[in-house]
Symmetry: C2
Subunit: 232 residues, 2 copies
């Protein structure tokens, strides 16, 4: 799920200025919580997001001495378990105070994609994204719908349907990584089950609400089947 | 949290056309899960969202015989507990097949607001929104941070911090409803605790992921204190 997300702005004034009522038309989307039953890991994607980077850049201009470091006064609720270099919001040596490091634009997200192929079902689109982004070949029948909701109600008003997919190492048929020719720059990341809730609520790890929601959904719905740490 | 959400588009070409890399700059935001301990209800806001309405309108053009009725083949996982007239995605008698009813643009959301006052803390902004939108006067010290995350990673890249606030009928000092002069059209809605999880996973009730996530967070974190139905 990358840049083609935005199709066009409507309600633009003829002179090119924007009204305060602008909103964007987009496609609906699917997202998938992937759980590898062989390694007992969740499979996420890690992406550089230009919009997130710009947001951090704006923040760094407001706080020139502490670029992208608004969290310092608020300790994370649990001890971080991910490598330090994976954390955004840190100043790398050698970068200017007005230029956050590229890592400041990175977020951890669920595998996701746009519903832009009218002949495919939501499940078929989800299946394609799991294969393209994460390299797992999962049958459509193995996709379980978690729920659907409105995303970006102030901007796009589109609908996202979230699925859960169990995969195994046997389904791992490729490297994933998305489609570089479409501008996707995706890294596949594994989050071990026993670290999942700590990961979810560690605010120093930049992520979407979808990651947190789906992890806590798994905890509530799959805990009889898989043991998950509850140290939050 | 309404229309001023969108400030301006950047990366616009000088001739007014849009690049595929467009994104929007916005303020960070706060959202608040409000629980009334007197009536054992969650307090949500119900808003007409132009972007959601336009999304449904576009959908209705794709399916002229079944406007905004994409859910028909997918029965909701639990029996709906809200009045029928509260549901979007229905065709009202007398409306054209190309004009969904206004209810199609309505969503249930957490009380929320923009972080657009540099002198106020996140908690103080959250407190103001609870008062303005929902009419409850809650002390800043009663606000508990749930977590924070990236919202709209493809478009805005801004950060949202989610709080939990317990209120009682004694804190109810006004009607709420937001600021009509700023275009806000907000109705305060109560969701009883024992219906919360059914509400959260009833896909025929249009809502944001924040509602679902915060309800399930409450279920995971507050269930020793308050009993919540788990019929999902």
């Amino acid at each position: 799920l990358f840049i083609p997300f935005i199709k066009f702005c409507i309600n633009e004034r003829s002179n090119g200025t924007k009204k305060s009522w602008d909103f964007m038309q987009t496609h609906d989307s699917v997202s998938v919580l992937i759980f590898n039953t062989t390694s007992h890991c969740f499979i996420l994607v890690k992406q550089f997001r230009p919009a997130v980077y710009m947001s951090e850049w704006e923040r760094s201009k407001l706080k020139p001495l502490q670029p992208a470091e608004e969290e310092s006064a608020e300790p994370a609720p649990a001890e971080p378990k991910v490598p330090e270099e994976d954390k955004a919001g840190e100043t790398s040596e050698g970068t200017s105070s007005h230029q956050p490091p590229a890592s400041a634009g990175v977020t951890y997200e669920l595998c996701a994609g746009l519903v832009d192929k009218p002949n495919l079902s939501l499940e078929e689109i989800a299946r394609q994204e799991v294969l393209e982004e994460c390299g797992y070949d999962v049958s459509v029948t193995k996709l379980r719908k978690i729920t659907s909701f409105r995303s970006g109600v102030g901007v796009t008003g589109s609908k996202q349907t979230m699925f859960y997919a169990e995969v195994s190492d046997e389904n791992h048929v490729g490297e994933g990584g998305g489609k570089p020719q479409e501008g996707e720059l995706i890294e596949v990341v594994k989050v071990p089950l026993h670290e999942a809730m700590t990961f979810a609520f560690d605010e120093s790890i930049p992520k979407t609400m979808g990651v947190i929601f789906s992890f806590i959904w798994f905890h509530s719905n799959m805990s009889p089947k898989y043991k998950i740490s509850t140290n939050v």
